[in-house]
Subunit: 175 residues, 2 copies
């Protein structure tokens, strides 16, 4: 079982990223649950989307022991990486995140938004770049399934640019 939390600000497309990740898991023959919680903490600018992927039925669908936290803003790191264990993966977008908790050992510093804006001309695809980095790092789902799930969910006419965003994310994480 792998528990992942995708966090950032409202406009960064992280709910969609979570849905795509869960649908890719289904394509891989696994089970998944994807959720958003809305409460007092959601009233700031930070938002989160959670995904659990498992070979077996998932009984408790909220993330309680995250294996990975993606944080696309500083506020998201501060709010949502607290319960990440020392050996958990923290993946940050260095475009917006300047400081990370010191006790963490596996921090991926990725210039996600900066890079996608430079290469594809739009920050809009940062969520898909992040998916590429997550898949390359965790192998939570196959590249084939994440590609199919992305193409199923994104608007018609944007397939090619989304594929490039995915490849960009895989390449970023491989460095």
């Amino acid at each position: 079982m792998i528990e992942m939390r995708l966090s950032g600000s409202g406009g960064q497309g992280l709910i969609l990223a979570g849905i795509i990740l869960a649908e890719a898991a289904l394509l891989d023959g696994k089970m998944a649950i994807q959720s958003q919680s809305y409460g007092p903490e959601a009233r700031g600018g930070a938002s989160k989307s959670e995904v659990i992927i498992s070979e077996k039925a998932i009984h408790y669908p909220k993330v309680t022991n995250p294996n990975l936290v993606l944080a696309m803003t500083q506020e998201a790191v501060d709010k949502y990486s607290k319960d990440l264990p020392a050996d958990g993966i923290l993946m940050i977008d260095t475009t917006f995140v300047k400081s990370v908790p010191e006790h963490l050992k596996n921090v991926y510093h990725l210039p996600i938004t900066e890079k996608v804006t430079a290469e594809l001309g739009k920050a809009l695809f940062a969520n898909i770049v992040a998916l590429g980095a997550i898949v390359a790092t965790t192998k939570a789902v196959s590249v084939e399934s994440i590609t199919t799930a992305i193409l199923h969910r994104v608007p018609k006419g944007t397939e090619d640019i989304n594929k490039r965003a995915l490849e960009l994310g895989i390449a970023l994480a491989a460095k």
Copy 2:
């Protein structure tokens, strides 16, 4: 606390409807959780999206005692209304649903897709019509908050038609 399950087929926009409902609850000052489960049952054509709205923190985020099931296809009724208690609300789109379980007392037979296609020219907004009917029936969130949440989530340029879809749903359920 109110537990709702929105079910139908993959293309009917029910994940988005669930997200909008949960965001409207937050605007009303309540807490909410919205989730999708993906497992063997999701491999057919039926899909579901669940929303729980509460005044207090929600500890178990999966719907276990639904107060309302929306079913937009016959397969969705058959799969996802089984745990609805006799006094729970079943809301069906009569465009696609022909038979409902006999023990249920509160069944809303609404020609959602038929009506939205006739009035707005597109089946695409059926999910927003369904939201109108759900809000009118359950008062789970305010009309003001659901309107704000819809306008926040739908593509630019479609605000007016989405507002009309919402009003259509409210009117359908009021009959």
